[in-house]
Symmetry: C2
Amino acid sequence: MLTVGRIAARTGLSPKAVRLYEANGLIDPPERTASGYRTYTDDAVPVLGFIRQAQALGLSLKEIKDILDLQRRGEQPCALVTDLLDQHLADIEHRIADLKALRTTLKRARAQADQAVGRGDEALVCHIIEGVTTPTPPEER
Amino acid sequence: MLTVGRIAARTGLSPKAVRLYEANGLIDPPERTASGYRTYTDDAVPVLGFIRQAQALGLSLKEIKDILDLQRRGEQPCALVTDLLDQHLADIEHRIADLKALRTTLKRARAQADQAVGRGDEALVCHIIEGVTTPTPPEER
DNA sequence: CCTTGACCTTGCCCTATGGGCAAGGTTTTA
DNA sequence: TAAAACCTTGCCCATAGGGCAAGGTCAAGG
């Protein structure tokens, strides 16, 4: 009999994560023993594996739930999946660009720090930060 | 007299953010009017500006607080600042690398999706996700 | 049989940075 | 003087769980 701890260990998740997925509707509530223990069947293992995979691709629990809901209703989730993957791909491009811009800004700040050492110029708190021109506020998405 | 809304507008922040910074100890609690309104002096403006700049560099409120605490105790925060910038720089390199790896994985999933369309192979939920080999779990830091 | 340790249950607080709303008081403007 | 615009505090929301508490349950060993 698969308890929550055992199925968690088998799928590489924590028991807490498994319970969370149940609470969020990603997996069906399993049967319970008389004393209230969750008892999973082997059928639940690949679903949890799928969740892990999808999470590794950057999908949120909400998005994964939407996919699984479609599938449970007998519909093809693949169109949704490709849409989501495309969105995340675009998002990742965005974030990489933002991080690269931020890296440039940070490097400029660092260079300025080394240069300003010993020059002893004054600033409200620290010229290293205050002297930095932030080009475009990296909008997180 | 600078109310919270006015100083927020002047610094490009929201009133809520300004109150949050006060609650978290980044700025000193301002005087209050008899009716309880916060009344800021112009001295608070550049501090809030500093917070904005530091945030734009990716520093957390906690880190910014540490910098400001040092400065308020009359010590030079610049060593801490350079440390933090170096840490964030390394962190950003890491995250860029992770995102690039994830992008590669996502692109492979997408390519597989296009290729598998019409091939009609079966999977638990969607072969697009299940067929993807996740190379290294992108460890978020 | 009993104990001990490992497991399970629910529930609550915590993370970071605010956004949004509610209920109520104050100030400013028309 | 009345309405609009502002302020106050407090609470809930978001992500994806981690950690802890209090208490119930199960399996192995003595």
